[in-house]
Amino acid sequence: MGLNIADVSVVYPAADGRPPVEALRRIDLSVERDDFVVALGASGCGKSTLLNLIAGFLSPTSGSIMLDGRPVDGPGADRSVVFQKHALMPWLDVIDNVAFGLMLRGLPEAERHATAGRFIDLLGLGEFRRSKVYKLSGGMQQRVGIARALTCDPRLLLMDEPLGALDALTREKAQELILRIWHETGKAVFFITHSVEEALFMGTRLIVMSPRPGRIAHRFDLPFSRQFLAGAPAREVKASPEFIRLREEVLRIIFADEEAAA
């Protein structure tokens, strides 16, 4: 059970005199319950396209996407998306942003604020419940976005470079936070990043994608997030010889891809 992507291809039709773009070719991927799948790859290799497929914003040119045995046909509350930025509602304060999904379901205010309040606390935003989101820092806004996605209690959390806009320190803290929340809530996660270190640290499984046509070139199983959750300090995990060896290997693959493409 879980998410099953079988033999999926996506071709964006020709436009403005450019030939059609084969954004994804014959992708096979399954995401089980409590998997943390990270997608890594050069710009333009089809990561966002894959996420849009899973989210249901895009239908594949061929192939099938099944969630718990049912085909995905459109977005739904069982798959919440966290965007890189610009996805909060500035006219709502923090708690109403977080409760947005529950409001759409028609829950009474007291109930949705209670649920939202728990996730706000979980993400360490307790004192900002009534703040305007446009007055928060980028890192805080991103946490609001994550809390909002979690309140809907999705089966699958989709994140498209959620930490890309954050500074190094905030970013590492956010990584640890997301891992803890993933561990506590037991959700499946599909996570896109450009950072090799972030990918290795967070995922239980890593897919490295290659462009033109977009495909999954390599797959790795990763132990590092479990080490961290078992109590090892994050920096120690990231500095372990095993981590560094794998990091260099993945970097080599990506650079080789870039050169082959150039």
């Binding site: 914003f57 739904g76 965007f83 610009h86 996805a87 500035p90 409001m103 759409l104 989101v133």
Partner: protein
Amino acid sequence: MTDQTQAPTRARPSSSGWLTRLTRAAPTRPGETYGVPGSGDTTWLSLASIALLLFLWWIVTATGWVKPLFVPSPGAILQKFADIWQNGFTNTSFLEHIAISTARVFGAFVLACALGIPLGLAMGMSPLVRGIFDPPIEFYRPIPPLAYLPLMIIWFGIGETAKVLLIFLSVFAPVALGARAGVKSAAIEQIHAAYSFGATRWQVMRHVILPSALPEILTAMRIGVGFGWTTLVAAEMVAATKGLGYMVLSASQFLQTSTVIVGIIVIAAIAYAFDLLMRAVERRVVPWKGRM
């Protein structure tokens, strides 16, 4: 140590300071955003500008450069104002003129918003609605109200309907087009986020697109009511015996320049007061405008 601070190291001549200000804004105080276009308080400049205009006006009349028939003095205008205020104009009290015109403009304005905003939103949302309503709106929009005034009178008579309808039409197009453009304000990520939480199309419309369109809708309303006042005089040209537009028109036929100017100032003052009100509403309703 101390002699170093006394060394004559003038970093930059301060005389270039105000020149650089023209090309690059000064850092903002905490709580403000750097580089927001046109930020800054203008109250004092505006007051000074008004004072200067009044002074020039007073100068040209007091020195007799311009005959009172063309430009009456500020004092004469004040006197005229007091006179109309007490005795009315053509047997109708001043307040009644004001009330009637205001009722016409705001009646038409409310009607135009009630119909124009939903229609504009629907045009933004649905190609079907846009396809149907785009040609007629774009067709009549550039035509001056004076040009179709005769048609209004032929079709709807010389009563109140034709007058309000004429003003309504001039407000309707900008409001509808503003609402239609506002639909595009929501970021695609906001819309996708709502759908990914299971929103229906209607909910996305109600909870994402409508709120993010609000700044543009409010701006369109401000522009629209301005068009309404512009059209007032045309609307009160035919078969009117009351109203500020009527007052201005009939006074001009008798070369009562001061009455004309009183009418103009009163119209401008009402329109400006309403605009200030709308700006206050804007600050309260969409404080996030342009900030995310």
